[in-house]
Symmetry: C2
């Protein structure tokens, strides 16, 4: 079965927590959704870089690559920096990825954005804090 | 009924998207969880600031204030900057809030962190991108 590549892009941090979050999210997705081959790349400070993570997909049998930023909201990183690195124009959500002599579609997903699930996550953490009362 | 104050703290951005995300998340929580009085404050670039948002709670009848950072993971902002602004020590998750001549507990919640719901949000956005194929 042909699979889909999913590159989770993290911001990166001097501290370990951003990288841990991105890697654990990748692991959760891999475990539940076997149609995706999931890898992580970081814009700043951590490795692999986005470019290095894209190079790792060269070894994989995929027919599409989705680049999904693990960011909360659009900002300069989402609108300019990551599109530049993955080779798509500003404002575009689509490009191509060269893989083993052929080109496959590259799709650029939105960041997390507003969603009832995000509100649930915030309430969960608020309630966890309240449990210390 | 006595209510709980919930201050969602956003990073802030020159662009409007971070503020929109924090405000829409506050609105989702207010609509679903009437036990919380929800306000937003921003660390950088947007208003109200965290201090201004805390001042707004002076008008409210609350018996506890939860400060919940709408951030993905721990980092310098979470570990040092926000604790300094809300008046708790580094590494602490608890302080006090002076409200109308009395003090109530102030609780500092964790950022979003790794969670199956976060993985679901990423898959949802990846599938949304794939729907353009």
């Amino acid at each position: 079965m042909s699979k889909k590549g999913l590159l989770l892009v993290g911001h990166g941090s001097k501290l370990p927590y951003n990288k841990e979050l991105v890697e654990s999210t990748a692991s959760l997705i891999s475990g539940k959704y076997p149609e995706f081959i999931v890898k992580c790349g970081f814009m700043n400070m951590n490795s692999p870089s986005i470019e290095e993570a894209m190079a790792e997909f060269q070894k994989e049998s995929i027919d599409v690559l989705v680049v999904a930023p693990l960011f909360l909201a659009k900002g300069v990183h989402i609108l300019k920096d990551i599109p530049s690195v993955i080779g798509i124009g500003e404002g575009k959500n689509r490009g191509v990825f060269s893989l083993d002599g052929r080109t496959i579609p590259l799709l650029y997903a939105d960041p997390i954005g507003s969603d009832p699930l995000l509100a649930e996550l915030m309430v969960k953490n608020a309630r966890q804090a309240l449990s210390a009362l």
